[in-house]
């Protein structure tokens, strides 16, 4: 049927199918700025358009409904690649992180300013209420609205988005435009789905309806014969090898326990079969034609189930080790039906007892430590499954080009994808190219090879272009969640609060496969225990297989759950001792010069060694929080907060830490080229997943080479073009990839000076690079442009380029102190977050406003995990809330009234310009701070998150 309407000011007449949604029609016509985050549910708002001037979700409208209407997309405001007042304001306020939601936010603010040129706070909130963003934490959107509003009256209006740091440097520590922000704000082609040609084949997977089952019989013959079907895969015709999907350095500390199509299905959604077809409809029809007979097995649905004597065995294949021997007493002989498990090295596992990995260690003498205590407490904390929910689901487009496999991927780990995919297919790595596109969020979920193995294999074996995109239900059920954990903390202390012993026992639920099975739970220990000084400390970590959804990496790894357990236990101990909780922290926390002995036991798979801490900013951060929250004074009353007497006010403060990459394990590389006009091309191995890593590397180059940011272009995460990088995980981006860029730029600088020395006839030591790319000597000078021209034009030099490699044994810890003030309704158990302050030390903030945005976003994820989010399962292991209607992530409404981030830099000696990591740590504070504040308000300890109103009432004994 034909639909006539006005699109971005121009009349159009489109032929559409009656059932085509407006979103589908727009994308089919190349309007890619409308995005799909919820598959037509209408809860994410990323597909928003202005329909006759009002913001609506185009996924819930049929294209035919646009007849005679005026439709505006963000492209209207991006005409001739310009930027509207709102788009520029969003960039200036550092609101563009992954950029997937930016077009929708742009439209919302345009609509708002049209009807209310000077909007109130509430009006901004209302305008943004229909747009979900997982990156930014929404707070800086208010700044963008204010900037845009003021610029409508005064185009020259400007305001600082963040404080500045390092006055000795031109770019570092100052706000500069994020290098990809303009393109993302315009809604240009940037993401995987924007690269898919119309003739690409579609890949769909038949997921298991059972949590634990063998496939007795599968018949794909009917599907294979159906129109448009290119290939049907199942356990009988897929590659016969096991691998891990964990994007970790090889050899991975994760068992190789996953077959492309497993012989035994281990969770609801596990791969049963896949159809590649010429159209989505044909793929759907063929999928429905596959018949399967299952032998249903009793599932393992909890850690307790997994540990129980005689429990069903999730993995019952042969167990082998590439290096080392199985632990004494463990079972290695399989049942003859299941897939094998291959450990790269021992992880103290016993898979046939559902134990995927374990580790225990410690320092001192625990018996002596507890014996010396005046008070001993033991508490158990539970953290349920939470989902990363990147707004762009897992997606890949694989094709054959020049006889090689090319995968356009939304991945945090391009090189690990290349390694794993080439092994799965059985081809060498030189035949595979991974191009990391802009990513609509990753948050750890895209550290795993979730879709690329299948898409790559089918592209390689069929020669077709293969588009594989999870829908939101698959994203919830079959991508990656944070491991469920149950942590018992036992603390001993003297009456004055001095800790005498700390014991942490952690059981984790790694789900059906063992990706990150040891490293995630170990981070719960290694990023919490070293915050406290105690001579006697021990941990025991066990990770169990279950038949729930796959677990994996999530921003913070296991640290948020370890931090919740230990910091809350510390507050419970303070209550036992009758001490102020911050006083107890102060008594036991690490400080400048502390020797952290426990690191001897926390070596990330290698022998660890104690560290003597340099400068530590925790004292300053705690003082700032205490002052801001008037800690020494009585709490404000509910009346002060404008609330009824049903509400009780509480507050809590915690200290947190993280790492900056994996010292001794990981490495990053960069290359930088001087182009003929004196500008730079940075080739960074780093994988910017929306965090601004490319901006970090551009800044490093501009700073060192005396240029402006506009003089540097960055290409990153392309395995053909850029050098190896371990990937974006473990808070390594700025520290590792950033440092590699620094070293590359320094190498180029040194080479330029050497060549200039010859041309100018002056000693290298007398030369320096001045701003605007001018090499100045005592007598003469030469521009980088001239230098490059001469070098390229055959003056005896080659193209000037620099190379940088970074690896280190130095451990750089970012620290933080997070404070929460909230109100609890005694009648309903509801929690209203009133204030949240995050004081964080990220060393030198390379991009201050972007760093703050990372922290706001991290905190709001943690607030969501603490109060609302939990992946639920029924008693047969079926996930129940696999959509944004039922699994609630925070919207702009959930922000605390007073939400503040303060950067408290303590420079690191090794980090780029003194920088450390910033993002992951931000997730570690909210859960314990909120739990402590709830107790402070109503006297109840909530030891299981999320702290739903129902759980709060139960903790209070009122339900």
């Amino acid at each position: 049927m034909k639909v006539n309407f006005t699109l971005n000011g121009r009349a159009v007449a489109w032929n559409v199918e009656p059932g085509t949604t407006l979103l589908e029609a727009l994308r089919a016509k190349g309007i890619v700025s409308v995005r799909n985050g919820c598959d037509g549910e209408g809860s994410c708002g990323l597909c928003a358009v202005l329909l006759d001037g009002k913001q609506v979700n185009s996924c819930q409208l049929l294209a035919a409904q646009a007849q005679g209407r005026a439709v505006l997309t963000v492209d209207h405001f991006s005409k001739d690649r310009g930027l509207s007042v709102v788009q520029q304001a969003l960039i200036d306020a550092a609101c563009v992180q992954c950029g997937y939601c930016t077009p929708a936010v742009t439209l919302a603010l345009h609509e708002l300013l049209e009807r209310s040129p000077e909007p109130s706070h509430d009006e901004v909130r209302d305008a943004l209420s229909g747009t979900l963003c997982r990156c930014t934490g929404y707070e800086q959107f208010y700044n963008a609205a204010r900037i845009a509003s003021k610029r409508l009256k005064d185009p020259s209006y400007a305001e600082a988005a963040a404080p500045e740091f390092r006055p000795d440097l031109r770019h570092v520590g100052k706000d500069r435009e994020k290098v990809d922000a303009a393109a993302l704000a315009r809604g240009e082609r940037a993401f995987v789905e924007d690269r898919v040609p119309a003739d690409a084949c579609h890949l769909l997977v038949l997921g298991s309806p059972h949590a634990h089952a063998f496939i007795k019989k599968i018949d794909i013959s009917k599907a294979e014969a159906m129109p448009g079907v290119v290939k049907v895969l199942c356990k009988d015709n897929c590659p016969d090898l096991v691998y891990t999907t964990a994007g970790q350095g090889f050899p991975e500390p994760s068992p190789h326990d996953q077959r492309m199509f497993p012989r035994k299905l281990r969770y609801v959604g596990d791969r049963v079969a896949a159809v590649l077809a010429e159209s989505l409809e044909e793929a759907r029809a063929a999928l429905a034609a596959i018949t399967v007979e299952y032998e249903i097995l009793k599932p393992v649905l909890s850690i307790a189930d997994a540990k129980a004597p005689g429990a069903p065995i999730v993995h019952h294949g042969d167990v082998s080790y590439v290096v080392g021997e199985p632990p004494a007493g463990s079972s290695v002989k399989g049942d003859g039906r299941d897939d094998p498990i291959i450990y790269q090295f021992p992880l103290h596992a016993d898979p046939h007892r559902n134990l995927a990995a374990s580790v225990s260690d410690g320092i001192g003498d625990m018996d002596q430590g507890f014996a010396a205590a005046d008070v001993v407490i033991e508490r158990r904390y539970k953290g349920n499954r939470v989902q990363c929910t990147p707004m762009e689901p897992h997606v890949a487009y694989a094709k054959i080009d020049g006889g090689r496999l090319v995968i356009h991927a939304s991945t945090q780990v391009p090189w690990h994808v290349r390694r794993i995919v080439s092994r799965v297919i059985g081809i060498s790595e030189n035949k595979v190219r991974i191009i990391k596109e802009r990513m609509g969020g990753g948050f750890g979920a895209k550290q795993d090879i979730v879709v690329e193995d299948l898409a790559g294999y089918l592209a390689w074996t069929t020669g077709k272009g293969v588009f594989y995109r999870y829908d939101r239900r698959e994203e919830f059920a079959a991508s990656r969640t944070r491991h469920g954990m149950e942590i018992t903390v036992k603390l001993g202390a003297k009456k004055d609060g001095t800790l005498t012993a700390i014991l942490m026992r952690l059981d984790a639920d790694t789900g059906p496969y063992g990706q990150h099975c040891l490293t995630v739970p170990m981070n719960a220990i290694s990023k919490s225990l070293p915050l406290l000084l105690c001579d006697n400390a021990r941990f025991e970590v066990k990770s169990y297989y279950t038949n729930l959804s796959p677990a994996g990496a999530y921003q913070g790894y296991g640290a948020p759950k370890g931090s919740f357990a230990l910091q809350t236990a510390l507050a419970e101990l303070a209550a036992e001792l009758g001490m102020d909780q911050l006083e107890l922290i102060e008594k036991n926390r690490v400080r400048s010069g502390s020797r952290i002995e426990i690191l001897r036991s926390l070596g990330e798979g290698r022998p660890g060694s104690p560290v003597t801490l340099g400068e530590c900013g925790l004292g300053d951060m705690l003082e700032r929080g205490k002052t801001a929250f008037a800690w020494d004074k009585a709490k404000p009353s509910a009346k002060d907060a404008g609330l009824s007497e049903d509400w009780k006010i509480g507050r809590g403060g915690v200290i947190i830490q993280q790492g900056s990459g994996l010292p001794g394990l990981d490495a990053a590389n960069a290359e930088i080229r001087l182009l003929a006009d004196g500008t730079l091309l940075m080739l960074s191995g780093g994988a910017d997943l929306g965090t601004g890593l490319d901006t970090v590397t551009a800044k490093a180059a501009a700073e060192i080479m005396g240029l402006d940011m506009a003089d540097v272009s960055v290409i990153s995460g392309d395995t053909d073009i850029t050098p190896f990088d371990k990937g974006a995980y473990a808070s390594s981006g700025t520290y590792f990839s950033g440092n590699a860029a620094v070293r590359a730029a320094e190498d180029l600088r040194d080479k330029c000076l050497a060549v200039a020395s010859g041309i100018l006839g002056e000693a290298v030591k007398d030369l320096k690079i001045a701003h605007r790319g001018l090499i100045k000597g005592k007598r003469g000078e030469i521009s980088l442009a001239k230098l490059a021209h001469l070098a390229i034009q055959g003056e005896g030099h080659h193209e000037l380029s620099g190379h940088g490699n970074f690896k280190t044994d130095h451990a750089a810890f970012p620290y933080g102190a997070h404070f929460a003030q909230l109100a609890v309704n005694e009648r309903t158990g509801e929690v209203k977050l009133l204030r949240f302050h995050a004081y964080q030390d990220c060393g030198t903030p390379i991009n201050p406003a972007l760093a703050m945005g990372q922290i706001y976003g991290g905190v709001m994820k943690a607030v969501g995990h603490s109060l609302y989010e939990e992946l639920l399962f029924d008693d047969e292991g079926r996930p129940l809330n696999t959509n944004f209607l039922d699994y609630k992530i925070p919207s702009v409404f959930e922000l605390p009234d007073d939400f503040r981030v303060e950067l408290v830099p303590v420079a690191d000696e090794v980090g780029p310009f003194g920088g450390k990591s910033v993002s992951e740590i931000a997730l570690n504070g909210a859960a314990p701070a909120i739990a402590i504040a709830i107790h402070d308000a109503v006297g109840a300890w909530c030891r299981e998150w999320p702290f739903t109103p129902e759980r709060v009432l139960r903790a209070m004994g009122r339900l």
Partner: protein, 269 residues
Amino acid sequence: MVKDYVKPRSLDEAFEALAMPGSIALAGGTFALIGEVHGTKADIERAVDIGGLLSEAVERRGSELYVGAGCSFQALAEAPAAPACLRAAALTMANRNTRNRATVGGNLGANKSCASLVPILLALGAQAEYKLRDSGPRHIALEQWLAAPQGLVLSLSIPIVSGTRAASGRASRTSCDLATATVGLAFRLEGNAVRDLRVALGGFGPHAMLFPAITALFEGKSLPPKADIEKAVEPLLSALSDKRGGADYKKRRGAVLVADALHAAEVLA
């Protein structure tokens, strides 16, 4: 999968199209298009776009408030003619994007248990004007229509009785979540005595409905303290445990909503 789109020029044409199997009425946007994602694949063959055929007016007509079924939630939330409790209830619908398209008629047609607007409409005694194929408009109490929906609702007439006090309330996990429980109530005070009380709740049955048993607790009596109201109301509610909470919690939350609304009710402007 929608295979046919019909844009009727009149209600009669709309009814003809809707009479065909697999037809749904579409006025604003619809959630019904996404069945596959939620595993509730609706067998929708035909979308009948009735947008433009229904009144969008919100206006006082004598002692009544007229609300056209084509009125969007956002328009209702902004309508000066609507009493504050009604505007507030409309404003709790999801988010602005949704409110811009969702219509009052569509919401009534969906007839969901968690409806945010319906309880206050029931409490205020709204009358529904609806139409069946081949018949003229009929008027019926909204609670009766919701109990056995038929035809298309064309409009609502809501009596605005002097001295009536009313309030609405809603509980949800997050602001934009579907409601766990909703309430709307209206009454008059004669001296200290509660008169003509109507209490409606969402979340405690297949659709939002009046709860005469709750009314009976307080009719003719002075308003008890909130704690007493909760204690009396909670046993009268029944709920199912689901993703949004356990049955016990929902009952408690519903009782608190009733207590709060009774004490917060304000005289209709």
